[in-house]
């Protein structure tokens, strides 16, 4: 495979994600404008962060008048999963030069990461250069759509009347992201603990109940997994 062919292959392998990226980025544009951000702010966040879940998190919390450090901390916690991606990509892409690795890091998004790692594992004969080309092909498919449709969403968002209750789109979006993650009992335990703890600690100032709930959920999930493993052993 030439690097060019590998790039194209990555690009095409990510094509089905257009069905997810387009509505999701549109929704971000709409929600951001609904929260009172202007076009420049909406697009700055989209381009600087390119991580949808954390962008929704930050905006939802800022809109709820949470303090800046809580909004920031919660959004960063959402993105911590990408440290795992970063580690998983080292054996495949760690050979590239530093500037390329920096660009790869900037472009690292969930769906394209998943596709790339699966391909690398399925095709151990790929060379390092092919893997790099494939990675950029995959990301180049996702990112322009992410920017473009966030822009469209931000433009049309204001035309949507309040009777459509778009405020509800934010919790719906988070629930929709949570449901497919409930893959094991440990995941369900983590979600339930987090949901109950956040309500029980709603009185804690500065929205810190959110952080307490998220940490409780993380620990509950990890411990539930260990418990299941011990029982099975």
């Amino acid at each position: 495979m030439t690097p060019r062919a590998a790039f194209l292959r990555g690009y095409l392998d990510c094509a089905p994600f257009i069905l997810i990226v387009v509505p999701y980025s549109l929704l971000f544009g709409v929600v951001a404008r609904d929260a009172g951000l202007d076009l420049i702010q909406t697009m700055s966040m989209t381009v600087l962060v390119i991580a949808g879940a954390s962008q929704f998190t930050a905006i939802a919390l800022l809109q709820d008048q949470a303090p800046v450090f809580v909004a920031l901390l919660a959004a960063l916690v959402v993105n911590l999963r990408m440290a795992m991606y970063s580690a998983a990509l080292v054996p495949h892409l760690g050979h590239a030069r530093l500037s390329l690795r920096a660009l790869m890091a900037y472009l690292m998004v969930d769906q394209a990461y998943g596709v790339a790692v699966r391909t690398y594992e399925d095709r151990p004969d790929m060379t390092g250069a092919e893997k790099v080309s494939y990675y950029f092909g995959a990301m180049m498919f996702i990112c322009p759509f992410w920017y473009g449709f966030a822009f469209v969403g931000a433009l049309v968002g204001q035309a949507i009347p309040a009777s459509y209750q778009l405020d509800f789109a934010v919790p719906v979006c988070f629930l929709a992201m949570t449901a497919p993650l409930l893959r094991s009992r440990a995941h369900v335990v983590a979600a339930l603990v987090s949901g109950v703890v956040v309500l029980a600690f709603a009185w804690v100032p500065w929205s810190l109940g959110l952080i307490i709930a998220a940490l409780s959920g993380l620990i509950a999930g990890g411990q539930a997994e260990l418990f299941v493993k011990r029982r099975a052993a």
């Binding site: 789109a169 497919p180 999930g221």
Partner: protein, 106 residues
């Protein structure tokens, strides 16, 4: 309303922080692996953070002045049930469709 200064602080710091998370192993730490206890818990980031964000908005929505609204709770249940089986996009469609149809009926 979100204050401009708050917005820019969060956006810029989040942009830098997110880049550093993505760059961590690929750029700086190389082949070193994450400690086991951390990977164990990182798997649960999504399911631990998202419900915490959603629950207060569901139970005490700002749009109704903090009064619990059964139509929103039912629509939320529909979102989860569809999401378990059909993935993110249909889940969002189902949630909003459930909200609109319930409000139309009730």
């Amino acid at each position: 309303m979100i204050a401009d200064s708050d917005f820019w602080i969060v956006t810029i710091a989040l942009g830098i922080g997110t880049f550093l998370i993505r760059f961590s192993f690929l750029g700086i730490l190389g082949g070193r692996s994450l400690p086991g206890w951390l990977t164990l818990h990182l798997k649960y980031v999504g399911v631990a953070v998202f419900p915490a964000l959603v629950m207060p908005q569901l139970v005490w929505p700002a749009a109704t002045g903090g009064v619990t609204d059964p139509t929103r709770l039912i629509a939320a249940a529909a979102t989860i049930l569809v999401g378990l089986r059909f993935g993110v996009i249909w889940s969002i469609v189902a949630g909003m469709a459930a909200l609109y149809s319930l409000q139309y009926i009730l």
